[in-house]
Structures are given as structure tokens and as C-alpha cells.
């Protein structure tokens, strides 16, 4: 039990996917303009990450590794992720058209989210057992959503402030992200 708590806390705070590992930056900057899209994107990424880590874990353990095809990881994993996102799109359009409409163009972008592929690769690199890797993936995605929501709140405030010309938009957002990263550094070295 303690291992799982340790994994969750490490994945969300100590090794936050955005602020410590630099993965998932593109959607981090692109989607965090308002709170609702941030939360929606976060939930979609959580679902895709959990599903893709499970499937790629099974793929690695049952097919790639026993046949010595470890070098096919990159191409196999990204195809799995692309297929999963496509399926998610189709399912969501049928079941929940409202959510599908609000997520809009962000859904296919999850395929090129470095965080999803990154977590799948890290999981097989560290050879974690299945349940641990699932918990790790869900916790990482929650850390990503937390970063996104935090940042969305900050950017909404930035819109109300008088920012110097050249800094408007992405530059000031990046500097705020840097300050957030500095805050998260306070968690470094925490162990359970």
C-alpha cells in the first residue's frame, strides 16, 4: 500500500510530468487558456494515458520482449496510442456529443502529446509490474491535469493585467510556468 502512495505522490508532485520532466508542454501552453478546456483536456489525457499504458505494457510483455523486438517499441507504441485516440473520438462522438464538441480539435492532439508516449516508454524502461504502472500512469496524468488547471488560473489573471508588448501571450506565460516549476522544485528529494 505504501508503495502505491509513494508512486502517486512522486508522480504528481516530485516528478511532475510538466515541471520536472518537460513532457506535455505543447498542450500545456496551447490548452490552458480557460479552466473548462483545461479540465476537459486533463480528463481526456488521463483516460488515454491509463488505457495506452495498460495496452503498451501488455504489448511489451507478451509480444515485443519475448520475441526480441524491443527496438520496435517506438513505432508500436505510437500506433497503439493513435489507434486508441481514434477509437476514443468515435466512441465519444456517439455517446457524449456535447463533450466531443467542446474538446473539439484537442482530441486528436493527444496523439502527439509527448507525455502519453513518454509515460508508456518510461514504464517499460523501468520494468514496473502491471498494477504499479497503471497507478503510475493515472497519477502522472492527474499531475498533468493539476499543472494544466493551475496554469489556466494564472493565465486568466494574466489576461487582466497590463503586460508589456513583446511579452504578451506565450513569453509571459512561459515565465510564469518557470516560477511554477521553481515552486515544484520544493518537492524534490521527498521520499517515502
Amino acid at each position: 500500500m505504501l508503495t502505491y502512495i509513494s508512486i502517486v505522490v512522486t508522480a504528481i508532485f516530485v516528478n511532475n510530468i510538466v515541471f520536472a520532466q518537460f513532457l506535455g508542454i505543447c498542450p500545456f501552453i496551447g490548452v490552458s487558456r480557460n479552466m473548462s478546456s483545461a479540465v476537459g483536456m486533463g480528463l481526456a489525457v488521463t483516460f488515454v494515458m491509463a488505457l495506452s499504458t495498460s495496452v503498451t505494457w501488455i504489448l511489451q510483455t507478451c509480444i515485443l520482449h519475448p520475441f526480441g523486438l524491443d527496438y520496435m517499441q517506438t513505432i508500436a507504441f505510437i500506433l497503439v496510442i493513435a489507434a486508441l485516440v481514434q477509437m476514443l473520438e468515435i466512441v465519444l462522438r456517439k455517446i457524449h456529443p456535447v463533450l466531443y464538441a467542446s474538446l473539439g480539435v484537442y482530441l486528436p492532439l493527444i496523439t502527439t502529446n509527448c507525455a502519453v508516449l513518454g509515460v508508456a516508454l518510461i514504464t517499460v524502461q523501468h520494468s514496473m509490474p502491471f498494477l504499479q504502472s497503471l497507478v503510475h500512469a493515472v497519477a502522472t496524468a492527474l499531475g498533468f491535469m493539476m499543472a494544466l488547471v493551475l496554469f489556466a488560473g494564472i493565465r486568466r489573471q494574466l489576461d487582466l493585467v497590463d503586460v508589456p508588448g513583446p511579452m504578451r501571450g506565450v513569453p509571459i506565460a512561459l515565465i510564469c510556468a518557470g516560477l511554477l516549476a521553481m515552486a515544484f522544485m520544493g518537492f524534490a528529494g521527498m521520499k517515502f
Binding site: Y71, M72, I75, A188, G189, K191
Partner: protein, 198 residues
């Protein structure tokens, strides 16, 4: 497109793309398999050749595994004419600031530390990351090298004789722990060898 996309055409294109890709990757994998295996072995044998006296065996093939506290360390014995001239132990500590620290520690046949090299770490650049240079400089080096096989080195903050890196006590402690573990593993190996041959 001059004609409508049929499902068969889509499947054919995607399938042939996957097939060509698979063939290409298989070819490159076969091409690079040997160099990849050689690359990692080369780094280890280079470190051994630099730190150990001359030996005639291949320490990598004669390597022995040893378990301590749930981790398996590897011992690379160096022989010359059948007698042990030294050994290197690949040790690990999980208590680094940023994760695991792997250290290669070299020993003389009577168990004293002869040298060390940091193999892998995720420590803070500029602080913990300079541990190899820090501990190789005097007076830290003499506190470690030549120390008996007691495996009881400690940083000065814990009352020992080794100066920790300023501002990187956790990294220094983990490094010293890795060296101590290597010492205890090598001593156990020495005793086992002595019993075996006596």
C-alpha cells in the same frame, strides 16, 4: 485523388507501409546489434583497464553476482595467472537526491579501495553531479582510497572522515553508501573464495 478512396486501397497502403517499415527496421536492427552490445561492454573494460593493475582474464565473462538488501551487485574479478590481482564492484545506492547512483569501486586483493568511478546518476548539475571530481580530489580521495575493507565510511556530518559536497549532503551520503556496500560485498566474496580454496 482521381478516384474515390476504397477501403481496400486504404488497407493496402497502410499494410504495405507497415511491411516496408518492418523490413527496414529489422535490417537496421541486425546491422547495429553487435556494435550496441560492444559499446556498453567497452566502457566497462576501459574503466577497468585504467584503474586496475594488468590482468589477463576477461572480467566481464568472469563476473559474479552478489545480493545485498534486495539489490544485486556485480563483481568483476581481475586475475593474472590464476591469482586475483583485484576486483571491481558495480554498486548502487537508491538514496541519491534525484534517484539511483551507480558507482564502480575497484579493490586491491586484500580489500582496500583502489579507485572509483561514477557510472550513472541523476543528481543536480553543478551540485551533486560533480561528486566524481569532488571525491577524487584531496583530501577526500585519501579518506576513501586505501581505506580498509571495513565499509564503514561516513560523511563528516555523520561523524566520519569524508567531507561531503557543500550543499549536497544527500548525494554525498548516497555515494558513500554505495562505496560501503561495494566493500561489504567484496569482503564477503573474498571470504568465500578463501574458504573455497583452503
Amino acid at each position: 485523388m482521381s478516384r474515390p478512396d476504397s477501403v481496400w486501397r486504404m488497407i493496402a497502403v497502410l499494410g504495405s507501409a507497415a511491411l516496408i517499415s518492418g523490413v527496414l527496421l529489422g535490417y537496421f536492427h541486425d546491422l547495429t546489434a553487435t556494435p550496441i552490445a560492444q559499446a556498453s561492454a567497452r566502457r566497462l573494460s576501459e574503466s577497468l583497464r585504467e584503474m586496475m593493475p594488468s590482468f589477463s582474464n576477461d572480467p566481464l565473462t568472469d563476473a559474479v553476482g552478489a545480493c545485498v538488501d534486495g539489490d544485486s551487485l556485480r563483481i568483476y574479478p581481475c586475475m593474472d595467472d590464476g591469482s586475483l590481482v583485484g576486483a571491481a564492484v558495480e554498486s548502487i545506492s537508491h538514496n541519491g537526491f534525484g534517484g539511483d547512483i551507480r558507482v564502480l569501486v575497484c579493490f586491491t586483493p586484500d580489500g582496500a579501495v583502489a579507485g572509483f568511478r561514477v557510472i550513472e546518476h541523476s543528481e543536480t548539475p553543478g551540485l551533486g553531479a560533480k561528486m566524481e571530481d569532488w571525491f577524487s580530489g584531496e583530501p577526500r580521495r585519501s579518506a576513501i582510497v586505501g581505506s580498509g575493507g571495513g565499509g564503514n565510511l561516513k560523511v563528516s556530518a555523520d561523524g566520519g572522515s569524508v567531507d561531503a559536497i557543500t550543499g549536497a549532503t544527500i548525494t554525498s551520503r548516497a555515494f558513500v553508501e554505495a562505496v560501503n556496500r561495494a566493500c561489504s560485498v567484496f569482503n564477503r566474496y573474498r571470504n568465500e573464495q578463501a574458504e573455497y580454496y583452503s
